[in-house]
């Protein structure tokens, strides 16, 4: 069977997706009848979006062509090469069993990484690879899908690696779909950062004495026609490192709101969430300081919220950033305490002055007496450590009564107020007309 010109992808000279799939079926049928074995490699270029963004589509095409060339040079001539999508390739490698296929692909991984010059810039392309070895009786689509899934697992682990199908945790179709969704969300976030689609909403932390302890800033992302939920986009932002830019944006935005509240006569601390990735960057302290300077706001009006997962691996950079924030006089709160990696030793050494008890303890109040006991003990512990203790997620009058009984210092949750846009928060605070500090 001869391939006609239109079956070939012009950039790589490989079979295109449609022609490739029928050729793949024939390869599988042949392997099935000869019993010679067949390994499928699914390959995806890492950071391709960034490459395209950096070098334009012309540059992106050159990277595609170069990776294709390296594939052709490294793999034996009887391999069938397909271009599946913009930066995705498939190689069908006949007569190969798992061990040999893995060795060949390891060599390929190294070959692809040799430097490549585009527009005077040297780059080291890297790829994620998944391999699946044909099992007797397996249909072509399932074989390809297994290779794709292994590749996605390689990508999930940071790329630049090879995963053999069967070694990855079973993700199933859902897992594959999730990985694709993540790529779409990443693209959305880039867009949001330059088209004004981001906003902060605020939710108050109310002291048991009625004073406003602080307002917590929560990020919102409204794209044309739909709202991206933080539960969806924050994890993607953390994975891709975009959280650093989103975080810096919130620092300035939150600091400006703190300045505005002060000028409107309702000075209130603004609590801003910071992620591990942000705190683990040398640019955190200059960015925090720049935000304070730009907004012209006193550090005492800002509070950083971070989860205790930060302390799993407390690097020198993180410690340095926390130290300089504390020295500057910025408040610090541990968010979602008691849920994840709670370690009392950390609590002892923390620079934080506020402890926010995770909502999972509050949700089951007042019925769950054991949860109540934990809340009460943590409130006491926090107090002894000189920290303000806040109960998160208080939604009902009964829960409010319970946390009052447990003697926490302040409460956050729908019972008092839902998160609201800037203007509404300002109006709410004015109505309370209570100075927070």
């Amino acid at each position: 069977m001869h391939d006609t010109g239109s079956d070939l992808d012009p950039i790589t000279g490989f079979l295109n997706r449609i022609a490739g799939l029928s050729a793949a079926s024939r390869s599988v049928a042949r392997a099935e009848s000869t019993g010679d074995g067949l390994a499928v490699l699914w390959l995806d270029i890492d950071r391709f979006r960034q490459i395209n963004q950096s070098f334009g589509h012309v540059g992106g095409d050159r990277v595609i062509a170069e990776v294709a060339k390296r594939l052709r040079q490294t793999l034996s001539a009887d391999c069938l090469l397909l271009r599946m999508g913009s930066d995705e390739f498939v190689a069908l490698m006949p007569s190969l069993q798992r061990q040999t296929a893995t060795e060949v692909c390891q060599r390929l991984l190294a070959a692809i990484e040799s430097p490549l010059a585009i527009d005077d810039l040297l780059m080291h392309p890297s790829v994620s690879m998944g391999i699946a070895v044909h099992a007797a009786g397996e249909d072509p689509l399932s074989l390809l899908e297994r290779a794709d899934r292994a590749m996605i697992e390689a990508k999930r682990r940071g790329g630049k690696r090879l995963i053999v199908s069967g070694d990855e945790p079973v993700a199933g179709r859902l897992g594959v779909q999730l990985a694709r969704d993540e790529l779409a969300i990443e693209a959305d976030l880039h867009k949001a950062l330059e088209s004004g689609c981001l906003a902060l909403e605020y939710q108050p932390l109310v002291g048991l004495d009625g004073r406003i302890e602080a307002v917590e800033a929560l990020m919102r992302c409204d794209l044309p026609g739909r709202r991206l939920m933080p539960g969806k986009f924050i994890p993607v932002a953390e994975k891709t490192g975009l959280i650093v830019r989103l975080g810096e944006w919130s620092l300035l935005q939150g600091a400006q709101f703190a300045a505005r509240l002060r000028d409107e006569g309702v000075a209130t601390r603004v609590a801003i969430n910071v992620s591990r990735a942000q705190l683990n960057s040398r640019s955190f302290t200059p960015a925090l300081q720049a935000a304070l300077i730009c907004a012209n706001v006193a550090p005492a009006l800002i509070e950083l919220e971070f989860t205790e997962s930060l302390f799993l691996d407390l690097s020198e950079i993180v410690q340095g950033n926390l130290r300089s924030a504390r020295l500057a006089g910025v408040g610090m709160a541990i968010d979602d305490f008691g849920y994840g990696y709670s370690c009392l030793a950390n609590l002892k050494d923390l620079p934080a002055n506020k402890l926010k008890l995770d909502r999972s303890f509050i949700k089951v109040l007042p019925a769950d007496r054991r949860a109540y006991a934990v809340v009460k003990a943590m409130a006491m512990l926090g107090r002894e450590l000189g920290m303000t203790v806040v109960a998160e997620g208080v939604e009902t009058a009964e829960q409010q009564a319970a946390v009052e009984g447990a003697a926490v210092d302040a409460v956050q949750g729908y019972f008092h107020a839902r998160p609201m846009p800037e203007e509404a928060m300002l109006a709410w605070l004015k109505e309370k007309n209570t100075h927070a500090l």
């Binding site: 960034q50 950096s54 334009g56 080291h124 689609c197 550090p299 002055n353 000189g386 920290m387």
Partner: protein, 291 residues
């Protein structure tokens, strides 16, 4: 229960008294918010945005003038706000308005007349250079906007820290270490971080924000692994080259930046010595016609 750490318990009134209102980040022009709002709609209403811009006569005039200027890189001339909008699209219009509004947005900007004049010259030369070198992803209008925003952090820091002028002077004469390294010896931050936050706050595109952030960082500009988009590197290179040409031609204040970043900039833009020499003459003519 409150601790007596500064973050927790010091009397707030006392802390607040130390802050003075007039030192502040220039607010984002409301027209940019309107444009962003329109960009979020399924079918943006160009007519409405055109009316909003036209309502501010000086803004409308400045927009048409900017779009028609040679350093902005558009061949076709436009005669109305509506034409400018159609030619640029909403996002580029938003950037052009940011560029036009920046200086006015700074309170008391008359104090920094010389600074703004130099920025305007660098911006114009950058836009002009971007058209000459033709690098993929390097747009003349972006190079122009970037040239204006690149050092705006300096004005914010000058207003805030009385001694910053002396630091600037030292940084300008530092031959080896990065400019920003000198700043952070005496300040808690540096002008490139401050400038990039402002640019982000004004919703400027990622390439411009990052180029502001790393414009004194040779490693970030030279190594692919830094992850800096190529467009950002070209922006940095174009503005450094523009600044160098300006200093060569006018004999004005000489900094050490070309010594530190010149060879990277030349390589990025593909300019050899003779090409650069040629640019001095052509740049001189442009500067003369501009001032």
């Amino acid at each position: 229960m409150r601790s007596d750490t500064p973050g927790g318990g010091r009397r707030l009134d006392e802390v607040l008294e130390r802050t003075i209102r007039d030192i502040d980040i220039p607010p984002r022009p409301t027209i940019i918010d309107r444009i962003c709002h329109e960009m979020r709609q399924d079918q943006p209403n160009f007519k409405y945005i055109g009316e909003q811009i036209s309502a501010d006569v000086s803004l409308a005039a400045a927009l048409i003038k900017t779009v028609n200027s040679p350093y902005f890189g558009f061949r076709r001339r436009c005669r109305s706000v509506h034409e400018a909008l159609l030619m640029l699209g909403l996002d580029a219009t938003s950037r052009a308005i940011a560029a036009i509004s920046l200086r006015e947005a700074f309170p008391g900007s008359a104090h920094y007349e010389r600074f703004w004049q130099a920025s305007a010259q660098i911006a114009a030369l950058s836009g002009w250079l971007a058209q000459l070198v033709r690098k993929s992803g390097l747009r003349a209008d972006d190079a122009y906007t970037y040239g204006l925003f690149r050092d705006c952090g300096i004005v914010i820091l000058l207003r805030r820290f009385p001694d910053y002028m002396a630091t600037l002077d030292r940084a300008n004469h530092e031959a080896e270490r990065a400019f920003t390294d000198i700043e952070v010896e005496v300040l808690p931050t540096n002008h490139s971080v401050v400038g990039s936050l402002l640019a982000q706050n004004w919703w400027l595109p990622e390439e411009i924000c990052l180029a502001i952030r790393y414009h004194h960082d040779r490693d970030a500009i030279e190594q692919f692994e830094s992850g800096l988009p190529a467009a950002s590197r070209y922006l940095v290179a174009a503005s450094q080259t523009a600044e160098h040409i300006l200093q060569q031609v006018t004999g004005g204040s000489h900094t050490e930046e070309w010594h530190k970043l010149g060879s990277s900039s030349q390589r990025l833009l593909g300019l050899d010595e003779s090409a650069l020499g040629d640019l001095y003459d052509r740049g001189a003519a442009l500067i003369a016609s501009n001032s």
